[in-house]
Symmetry: C2
Subunit: 313 residues, 2 copies
């Protein structure tokens, strides 16, 4: 017990003895066993985070915001990527729960029914991030993707574009992108345009996907504005327009999403939507910490996005 106390830095040990113990521990290359500790005290400072992917800056920035906040509060995080699969997410959640974490963070609000059941049944704090729903498992901090789509549609109609198109990912892969598309369609339906073709290039680099999707749409439809899943794809699309001799924004409007760093070096400022990624991570983590500590908080937060009017529309 004296050793345990000395190493944990709790009181009840003389400074002399503590120094002695620390010295011996050092020479023995002793490392405490966290498994045994967690078992004994029946809690942990682990937070499990599930993300769709490590690719791209978006989730990296949300993640950084969360991790730094947790780190400061003495929590470690373990991360998994689901590659946009609900089944993979479920498997991860099961494994995570077996580690007795202090909290769980999931990306989005669309989960396997069993994931939902498992987490609803457990007393664990759960945070859903990046998307928004009226009925979160526990906490939710995100943006309204449908409204973001509407903002894009609004801008596009105001600028006089008549034939919008959208470049996305394979079906079911990113339901947030589908929500944004639905927002765009909603606005265009109001002016009688019901045809908003979508290209879904196969999974690959965002740049080449954007290039390919734009090329396909231009060849097969007659869009006058193309909206992309994100800025990187939009850049690929701009390159496609260049190589097809279309001038932006006159022959073709281009709209991105996320306001990524790339946009800041382009000769033409990209029309896009700025998402508060870091803030979202920090807010989410803070709320979760409050929840862990039993502090009452707003359970459902929708952060605002900022429309960025650039030179590509």
């Amino acid at each position: 017990m004296t050793v345990s106390r000395a190493l944990r830095g709790v009181e009840g040990v003389s400074e002399k003895k503590r120094a002695e113990i620390l010295k011996i521990a050092r020479t023995l290359n002793y490392v405490p066993n966290s498994n045994a500790r967690s078992l004994a005290v029946a809690n942990s400072n682990l937070v499990g985070i599930s993300l769709p992917t490590f690719a791209g800056e978006v989730f990296a920035e949300i993640l950084n915001g969360m991790r730094q906040t947790f780190e400061k509060a003495g929590y470690s995080s373990v991360i998994d990527t689901t590659e946009y699969s609900r089944d993979a997410e479920l498997i991860w959640v099961r494994r995570l729960l077996s580690w007795q974490p202090a909290a769980v963070i999931l990306t989005g609000v669309d989960h396997h029914p069993e994931t939902y059941a498992l987490l609803k049944a457990s007393p664990l704090p759960v945070l859903e991030i990046w998307d928004h729903t009226d009925d979160p498992i526990d906490l939710c901090v995100g943006i309204d993707h449908f409204k973001a789509g509407q903002a894009i549609g609004q801008h596009a109609t105001e600028r006089g574009y008549k034939c919008p198109a959208f470049v996305s990912t394979p079906k079911g892969h990113d339901i947030r992108a589908d929500a944004r598309l639905a927002g765009i369609r909603d606005i265009y339906r109001q002016i009688g345009q019901n045809h908003v073709p979508v290209s879904r290039p196969p999974l690959q680099s965002a740049f080449t996907a954007g290039f390919q999707g734009a090329t396909e749409l231009i060849n097969e439809e007659q869009p006058d504005i193309i909206c992309f899943l994100n800025d990187h794809m939009a850049f690929g699309g701009m390159m496609a327009c260049n190589s097809l001799g279309l001038s932006i924004p006159d022959d073709m409007g281009v709209v991105g999403f996320n306001s990524l760093d790339l946009a800041s070096v382009l000769p033409k400022r990209l029309t896009t939507i700025r998402t508060p990624r870091r803030l979202m991570g920090v807010t989410g983590a803070r709320n979760l910490l409050a929840r862990i500590n039993g502090v009452p908080i707003e359970r459902n937060i929708v952060l605002p996005v900022e429309f960025v009017s650039g030179e590509t529309t």
Copy 2:
């Protein structure tokens, strides 16, 4: 014990009883306690991975290669980012060891002395990835950054560029980039050019850093070729050349590193070096698994890189 056997799927339980147990476990929302399991069996299927950063595709690709390989073998991975700090790496290694992992993976070969001591002293398999050294802690799979720099220098001198410059990150932040710079300098020294100025723009997005670094070098030195830490920065640099009215490759040569996806959509193919990132992850993970299982393997592997001659030099 019967319950334990039933849930683990080991033999010694009748099918009838097993089904019964599984059903009850389900209704109770039972999740096994991995901490207790690890404690009892004194091992785990956790692999700890330390990366400099989640930003950029490079480490994401290495990571994917490793994770998929481990996943197939039944191992989970926990990841941490050090943000290029040796102290942060040490803290992470200590915490990781307290979780009794099956193996440790570090990025690069430059570690805090205590990290080194701790891991050398432990019987844990350790993999160092991405860089190369003659004296690894245990296993090493990487590329030779100095030689990669030499390849760039070789190409640049052959193309007749006389005044090279380099855009990097803040001092001490990325010693692999410094090794490549040393390779370039080594070649240029051989033709009597000892001046290779370096710009170290502050930490920020790779695109803006490249833009800023290139602008600074062009304003303050007279380079005829600029080599960048990576392709994203090279792209930022190309944009800077554009905005300063310099034509590539005649007024200014541009060389990147990594051969990232971005390059595939650019109107001018970028001169760069293709690094085998996924292969490196997979090879590293396989070797580590072999090591865990006691299979004898090559401890020190240097993977080849491919010079990609593009239209920017």
